[in-house]
């Protein structure tokens, strides 16, 4: 469960990049975070994960405040950043082991977990070479594997599908669905509206730092009393908010 309470943030004084954001992502749901470029998706995710200091308000992950109990809160999520270029001089296996050590995963479980995840994404055979030699998608896969290694309850993913081939993207979606069945949470940002429509239990649309819609696709259609595609609705919502 992720709870965002009255959060504001400005990079530059006087210009709020996030303006009084309130959002609750419940247990057992996949939440899609949508919005045009520069809307504030990455900024929000950076605040949830503790990368960016919060100006006002607070964020709770499974009830733990990211500002007051950061270490405990950080144990509760796995995070995939928007750029997959992580420590390229490390070998894939070194990176995964590094993360496993950070999360204190015991030998047996780590072997099982790394093999399971990397074989699923078909990068197991590449693990012994430096990540510099990986393609964009392969890097993305390693980072995803790393984030899911210790089986965190909350997944926070910033545009996780970019660069993935259709099969991997499909696999990831399947994994998300399976993950929330056990009462866990998935929060991810995306530009692919089709993914949001088919995969997400609820979506949030943010525009210029303000949350302009939260709810299911059905609710969106009801609210606007139009039976349009998500794409048309999205364009309408983000257009009107001048």
């Amino acid at each position: 469960m992720i709870k965002i309470e009255n959060v504001s943030k400005s990079y530059v004084k006087g210009k709020k990049s996030i303006d009084n954001l309130n959002l609750e992502i419940k247990d057992g749901e996949i939440f899609g975070f949508l919005g045009p470029n520069g809307a504030g998706k990455t900024t929000t995710i950076k605040m949830i994960t503790g990368i960016l200091n919060i100006d006002e308000g607070d964020i709770f992950i499974d009830g733990k405040s990211i500002t007051k109990e950061p270490i405990d809160a950080k144990k509760e999520f796995g995070f995939v950043p928007d750029s997959p270029d992580m420590f390229l001089k490390l070998k894939g296996i070194e990176y995964l082991n590094f993360l496993a050590d950070i999360y204190g995963i015991p030998n047996e479980k780590r072997k099982e977990r790394i093999e399971e995840l990397t074989k699923k994404f078909e990068i197991y055979d590449n693990l012994n070479s430096e990540m510099q030699s990986y393609s964009h998608g392969m890097r993305q896969k390693v980072v995803i594997c790393g984030a899911l290694l210790n089986n965190p309850r909350n997944w926070i993913l910033d545009e996780p599908m970019t660069g993935l081939d259709p099969k991997s993207s499909h696999d990831l979606k399947e994994m998300m669905r399976k993950h929330i069945k056990d009462g866990n949470t998935v929060f991810f940002s995306t530009h692919v509206l089709e993914v949001a429509e088919k995969l997400c239990d609820r979506v949030g649309i943010i525009n210029k730092g303000k949350l302009v819609f939260v709810g299911t696709y059905e609710e969106m259609k009801n609210k606007f009393k139009e039976n349009k595609s998500l794409e048309d609705l999205f364009l309408e919502i983000t257009e009107n908010e001048e």
Binding site: K46, T49, I51, S83, K89, N97, F98, G104, P106
Partner: protein, 555 residues
């Protein structure tokens, strides 16, 4: 052709320096802040320039007293040549082969000779900034002190512009030759490393053979004693050095003008040859396949691959891996810790040779008071000097670039991570420390207890420096860089270790002069060690109390 070269030069230059500007600052308060930073840097520059100036002033006056002031010209020019030679090797490897702009430039319809010319221009421009400090200031002071005519200043400018070019070309050519073998290799990373080390070995071998020239040991020792010896020896091997010196010396007007003319002509000829050879080597060389990145699928060793280890081991291990696998980081951050003491070994052996042949050069017996307070502090000052070139901690955050945010979302306390990141710096400074001390012991044969105290004080100094440096990096991290080189070279933060180091040396010397009369040297070194320990605790405490604020800029 000229136009293209100029445009390209400008683009490459701007690109490699754009990171120096303070990015991310648009609002006024930040602008003010960066203005005050600029003022600070100007002060730092003046401080550096001042030290060089004071040093030159003293040396020239000494030399004037014994009517040998012209020796100064040779020494300065030699210093410039050596500095530029070594410096260019590093920057040439980066600019010609590792720089990311290659990806954009190589596909453009530009002749290789133009690319080489433009890149060499950038190398030259960069070197002139060093020449400005290392050459312009001392030579101007020389002019003032010897009340030289306007002719001297004009010659000085010509010499300072023309003279550094050939050292740049030599180093750059050396890099081009070695790197052109890269296409025969399969493992590009390993080759880069080996090639880089090879070039360094060549440089040191050269500096060794300079000392080991065919002159008889007696002559050699006398030359070293004359201090000017090296310059005299090099005149033969390095003709433009002689031309530059004679071009500055007022023997006769014709002679001076002739030498300046020769200097400019020689430089031009060598430049033309360099471009002709360089363009062939450059394209033949590694450029084409540098970025192909080989995918070697080595099988995992399943028995070893999934071993758990402690957080400390795994984190520090990761830091070391990234440092060592990156040729640029390795050269700039790790090697100085080893190379500087080794350089002393080389010079020491040269000195020892003189001694063997009966000339009075026995350093061991020259130092009569083995527990002198000045000796101890002197060694500490030398260690502090070497410390200024170990950048591991001063770039610990910036080296991670965009990955620095990683520190903030993993569930490991930031203070712990700082300790881990500082640790490699402490290891390398300690290593450098011990190497230096071993050499000092070999030379001077100090009492072991005194030496031990000095070692401890030196190590404490290294620890203190490690923690202070990381604060500097945290306050002004450089997370968006185009090539690794920008982090370790075009990084204004690195001036801080130098400033603080010089400050430390100054304070230590002043304190020593003040207390030397009435304090035991053992006790004094102990006090120094304790003070460093105390300061380290203070600094670490400061970081611990302010971690959140210190990490504010990393996102």
């Amino acid at each position: 052709m000229k136009n293209k070269v100029m445009v390209l030069t400008k683009v490459i230059f701007k690109n490699s320096f754009q990171n120096m500007e303070t990015a991310k600052s648009t609002n006024e308060s930040k602008n003010k802040k960066s203005k005050s930073m600029i003022i600070l840097y100007i002060f730092a520059f003046i401080y550096l320039a001042g030290i060089i100036g004071v040093f030159s002033n003293g040396l020239i006056k000494e030399l004037i007293a014994i009517n040998q002031e012209e020796m100064f010209l040779g020494l300065i020019l030699l210093a410039i040549a050596i500095f530029v030679l070594i410096q260019t090797i590093f920057s040439a490897i980066n600019l010609l082969y590792y720089s990311k702009d290659n990806e954009y430039i190589l596909p453009l319809p530009i002749k290789p000779s133009e690319i080489v010319a433009a890149k060499t221009n950038v190398l030259l421009i960069t070197e002139y900034s060093i020449v400005a400090i290392l050459g312009l200031i001392p030579l101007t002071i020389y002019g003032i002190l010897t009340s030289a005519s306007i002719l001297y200043y004009i010659s000085m400018l010509i010499v300072l512009i023309a003279f550094p070019i050939i050292p740049v070309l030599i180093s750059s050519l050396l890099v081009l030759i070695v790197m052109s073998f890269a296409k025969f290799t399969k493992n590009r990373n390993r080759f880069q490393l080996i090639a880089t080390l090879f070039i360094l070995v060549v440089v040191f071998a050269l500096s060794f053979t300079m000392n080991d020239s065919t002159t008889t040991p007696e002559q050699m020792a006398q030359m070293v004693i004359k201090a000017n010896g090296l310059v005299e020896m090099l005149r033969g091997a390095f003709p433009t050095l002689g031309m530059a010196i004679d071009g500055l010396t007022n023997v006769s007007l014709e002679n001076q003008i002739l030498n300046l003319f020769l200097l400019v002509v020689t430089t031009t000829v060598i430049y033309i040859i360099y471009i002709a050879v360089g363009q062939k080597l450059y394209l033949k060389g590694a450029v084409g396949n540098l970025y192909s990145g080989k995918k070697n699928k080595k099988k995992l060793d399943e028995a070893k691959a999934f071993k758990k280890s402690t957080l400390f081991k795994t984190y520090v291990g990761k830091e070391f891996k990234i440092l060592i696998r990156n040729p640029i980081f390795l050269m700039q951050c790790v090697l100085p810790a080893i190379l500087f003491p080794i350089l002393i070994i080389v010079l020491t052996f040269a000195g020892m040779k003189g001694e063997q042949n009966g000339v009075e050069m026995d350093i061991t017996s020259m130092v009569t008071n083995k527990t002198s307070i000045y000796l101890g502090v002197g060694i500490l000052c030398a260690i502090q000097f070497f410390l200024m070139f170990i950048y591991i901690s001063a770039t610990a955050i910036s080296r991670d670039g965009q990955n620095a945010v990683f520190m903030k979302y993993i569930p490991v306390p930031l203070m712990k991570q700082i300790d881990y990141k500082v640790f490699p710096n402490i290891v390398m400074t300690t290593f450098m420390n011990i190497l230096t001390i071993v050499m000092v012991e070999y030379l001077l044969k100090l009492p072991i207890i005194y030496l031990l105290l000095i070692t401890i004080a030196g190590i404490m100094m290294g620890v203190l420096q490690s923690y202070i440096s990381i604060i500097v990096d945290l306050k002004k991290p450089k997370l968006e860089w185009s090539s690794e080189y920008a982090v370790v070279k075009q990084n204004m933060n690195l001036i801080w270790p130098v400033i603080l180091g010089l400050l430390n040396i100054t304070v230590m010397i002043i304190l020593t002069v003040v207390v030397s009369g009435f304090i035991n040297s053992y006790i004094f070194i102990c006090i120094i060690a304790v003070v460093y320990l105390f300061l380290t605790m203070l600094v670490r405490n400061y970081i611990e109390k302010n971690t959140i604020k210190l990490f504010e800029k990393i996102y």
